[in-house]
Symmetry: C2
Subunit: 342 residues, 2 copies
């Protein structure tokens, strides 16, 4: 059972006492090959379960049909759904997705890009690690002419980008809290060092200013993207002399953790404190209370990344312009912010 080497084109050639090239052509259904032998060979190949060796093809054609996806994590619904969207578009075209998880570490990111280069990936999709400050490792990718697409997380590097408008979306979220009557709105920020964290913070600040509301530094805490990390910052908010009456959280995970912490504290949501999240993970509809949030079109994000890649790849002139695609988000109003009926 072990050891059984897969049959090659040569094995078939021997069987038919013909040359490997004949077999190759027959298998590729070349009309130049005698219909009879062609069919015979095809049948036999089928019978013995012959399969083209893709590695050999790769070496020849310089195309691997492999795409590297470098992400901080895949356990967040958001990233998983994006990958889902990528596969939906790319798999039918014969591409396989190779996933590398950086855990937000710069060193891993660099290593994975190197690997992908060695493996001759046909394309590379990246959601930048939060640790990453230097982008030199991506220069090689560009120099090799490999399509490189960044998604979700923003960053300054001259390549394709697919994401949403974090600044605007933050504004939408906080604007909604204001409309619900909140006047003392806290922000549980995402991870330090991420451009999107800054963008959202700016959205939060600007919309407060626009409404003439004061900025209170003590209402701004860093919670990251993990629920566990949000508990302590939330407690700090609840320990303030004047507690907030609304919270804009970095994502749904932190929002849910914040809600739990608030409820543990004996306060009511949204009556005492309204909470809004970010992402619209499916489970948030089932929270108690259900969570208001900003919907990100994650599957579409993934599909769009794939499309940009394909267009770049198919562009013969090599002059495919850099894409910067921004998909619209959506305010989802549920019970966690519904202080008054609207």
């Amino acid at each position: 059972m072990r050891q059984e080497k897969p049959p090659t084109i040569k094995d078939i050639a021997k069987k038919f006492k013909c040359s490997p090239s004949t077999v190759s052509r027959a298998l590729n259904n070349h009309t130049s090959i005698n219909l009879h032998t062609r069919q015979n060979i095809q049948e036999y190949a089928e019978k013995i379960g012959y399969q083209r060796n893709k590695t050999a093809l790769n070496l020849l054609g310089n195309k691997t049909y492999t795409i590297g996806v470098v992400v901080p994590n895949i356990t967040s619904y958001f990233n998983a759904a994006i990958i889902d969207g990528m596969q939906k578009v790319l798999e039918p075209l014969g591409y396989a997705l190779t996933i590398f998880i950086t855990k937000d570490m710069y060193a891993s990111e660099v290593k994975f890009i190197e690997k992908l280069l060695m493996n001759n990936a046909d394309g590379i999709f990246v959601s930048i690690a939060s640790e990453t400050r230097d982008f030199a490792h991506f220069n090689k990718v560009l120099n090799r002419g490999i399509p490189l697409v960044f998604f979700d997380r923003e960053c300054d590097f001259p390549t394709h980008r697919v994401g949403i408008d974090h600044y605007l979306s933050a504004k939408m979220a906080v604007q909604h809290l204001i409309e619900m009557g909140c006047r003392r709105i806290a922000h549980l920020k995402g991870p330090e060092g991420l451009a999107v964290t800054k963008s959202r913070l700016n959205g939060y600040l600007d919309i407060l200013k626009a409404h003439g509301l004061p900025i209170d530094e003590s209402l701004i805490e860093t919670a990251g993207f993990k629920g566990m990390k949000a508990v302590f910052p939330t407690r700090k908010l609840l320990a303030l002399d004047e507690i907030p009456d609304g919270i804009f959280a970095a994502n749904d995970e932190t929002a849910v953790a914040a809600m739990h912490t608030i409820q543990q504290h004996g306060l009511k949501i949204p009556q005492d404190i309204a909470v809004i999240g970010f992402d619209n993970e499916p489970s948030t509809a089932f929270n108690n209370p259900s969570l208001s949030t900003i919907f990100q079109p994650r599957a579409e994000l993934g599909e769009e990344v794939a499309h940009v890649f394909l267009q770049d790849l198919n562009d013969k002139t090599g002059a495919y312009p850099m894409q910067h695609i921004v998909l619209p988000t959506q305010l989802i109003i549920r019970n966690s912010t519904l202080k008054t009926k609207i």
Copy 2:
């Protein structure tokens, strides 16, 4: 910028006016090569950013350092965390994980296995699709001597398997409900056609019997693994003349959806109905009330899969015995079942 072909060993050879083999050996640090030229070549290679072409290596060595992971989905935290565990063990050893998402479709599963075979994957890990009844597509994998490891979902096919004891875990969960005073316990089953669904159902049935509790068919509903799909079955339970006082859900997602539905109905958890889930997704600790559940060691599951693969691969005799690894689960008691203090 485009087109820049990656440098090959030949390019370096030309530069140094030596043969490709010399370069190859120098790059591999063969002691037979003059230390001086060896270093020169290495430096130059480094300088121009030379990287071995892995495709060529693959063709030579018949090893791709690629592992195919075939899963129903990656958006469930559970599967994502398993993949995480796999990467943790395998990536440092140079393996890359290629992910294929079947969406529980048999046809996709077959197609992906074919692909993986063509791509000369070094190993294949599978969580079987719920549609799959026939396992013929896996025979080729075994015949080619490619290590095949099934994980999570149970099924009858003679290959390695890594998972938990679903029967026993279900018993644990329901036993707990009984201990909390539940006497009319409903079961929201997982997807039809899955062996684990049956195993858990059997656990549920057997433990009820063991406690002398009656089996009521109307208390057994199919909810699948998706929250949305659990709402209607839960409503059916709530519409019964005699509603249940406890629910054992297929997983946390359905448990949370069930809780929400129950609360919408004006009932209290756990006072009116206790609810227990399965998996222990991190977010469930933050639910209101927090969700009791069965913890599955998902990361360890993934790591164990990787270890089994490695052992099989390294076994020169080809007689590595079939592994059937069962990892222990754990009852996590939270507020959704705490009718009385314990």
